[in-house]
């Protein structure tokens, strides 16, 4: 008699009568396989920093696969870095749940555009996205760039397109962003950090 693991579970779910059979030893070998093995034994470990508050807790990010060429890495678990001087391995409820941020069903995956008056998103390529955004920006900059003010002072500013920066982006992103923004003449520049 071959009983699959699933069938066995189903049988057990039938209730006390049938399940007592297990008590008498009528359990398939597979189901006896027992408790969980340690799930991170050979996962890849990467050091990271929590993206939430500014305690900036150290993280250990575990991903599936040993980084072999044919394995696509997938993050399977995140916990605190015990070496980190501030959090010493601890994480708050948000940090402890970071895996669910990484795998949120609301992660964006493709560039999209919503046309004027439209009710929906349309998927586009990066190439198209960059092209269309750059054209918008250039048209606005060329039309509204101010070289000198009323007093004839050189001001070289563009104040009809604004930029709001994240306070969760890296320093490198922040630096490159401010460099580009100022380079374009943007003055309507602010950050989440203010509020």
């Amino acid at each position: 008699m071959q009983v699959t693991r699933r069938q066995f579970f189903r049988i057990c779910a039938a209730g006390v009568g049938s399940s007592s059979l297990a008590a008498l030893g009528f359990a398939p070998g597979e189901a006896l396989a027992g408790v969980r093995a340690f799930k991170l034994a050979r996962a890849s470990e990467t050091r990271s920093t929590c993206p939430y508050c500014s305690v900036s807790c150290g993280l250990l990010v575990y991903s599936l696969g040993d980084k072999a060429k044919n394995a696509k890495s997938e993050i399977i678990h995140i916990e605190g870095d015990p070496d980190h001087p501030v959090n010493r391995g601890t994480l708050c409820p948000k940090g402890a749940g970071l895996l669910d941020l990484v795998h949120s069903e609301n992660r964006l995956k493709y560039p999209e555009v919503r046309a004027p008056s439209s009710k929906e998103w349309k998927r586009i390529s990066w190439d198209e996205a960059f092209d269309r955004i750059a054209k918008h920006m250039k048209a606005d900059r060329d039309k509204n760039f101010i070289t000198t003010n009323d007093q004839g002072v050189t001001v070289n500013r563009w104040n009809t397109t604004g930029l709001l920066a994240s306070s969760a982006a890296s320093n490198e992103t922040g630096y490159l962003t401010v460099k580009v923004a100022r380079g374009l003449g943007i003055v309507a520049l602010d950050t989440q950090a203010r509020i």
């Binding site: 069938q7 009568g17 049938s18 093995a37 409820p93």
Partner: protein, 289 residues
Amino acid sequence: MALQSLDIKARSATTTPTPQARGAIPVAKLIDISKCIGCKACQVACMQWNDLRDEVGDNVGVYDNPADLTAQSWTVMRFSEVEVEQGRLEWLIRKDGCMHCADPGCLKACPAPGAIVQYANGIVDFHEEHCIGCGYCVTGCPFDIPRISKKDSKAYKCTLCSDRVAVGLEPACVKTCPTGAIVFGSKEDMIHHAEGRIADLKERGYANAGLYDPAGVGGTHVMYVLQHADQPQLYADLPKDPHISPLVALWKGVTKPLMSLGIGVAVLAGFFHYVTAGPKEVEEENETD
């Protein structure tokens, strides 16, 4: 198999003697309620480590979410607003979950061989593969901890992260606890640590601070430091003097082997009929799982 490093000290519904030759250091988790901020990191770390996700519930006027322990929530925070001293509000927040009793009522009550085991270090673990879903562990537990899953009709509860402890790590909730309200180590060290905390609390005016390690269940491997150890019921009805129900003791002592055998004989015929005549039906159900 995976837990070879942990010898089994007791096994449900089993008469075969367990190995005794090797020693083990009893472990304990100590929850210091005076340091707990109720952040629920332990709840999240538990669901992350154990691959559990409960339903997204609702707010019913309290901070307790999920509202109760479930087969997907093995630990929950219970919030109580109390005024022990008139005019001085205290927000007592207790992490609820399995106490890992030295004398576990669940294991005593369990009729399924090997569904509940107690390791030599004191951890009481459920092996769901052997669980028959009878719910006797629920009746047997003086703390109302085990929950039967709606998905597979099996009983679930905190394992004290036996799979982590077996390889030398602390449980997930202990590791994550931001304020160090949860600590883990040998039971001896934890009692010592608690003594220091209790002395500190007494200095800060909590005259009745004390350790919760109830003797009625032989002591526990999850203990609390309470600011008001004389009134554990303040902490969302933590039982003052927990005991295993006398009915369970009776069931375990005499009746269980007989009862178990009786039930088995009575349903054997039905079982063979179900397994041999009903595979098609079972497969259909499988597809919709």
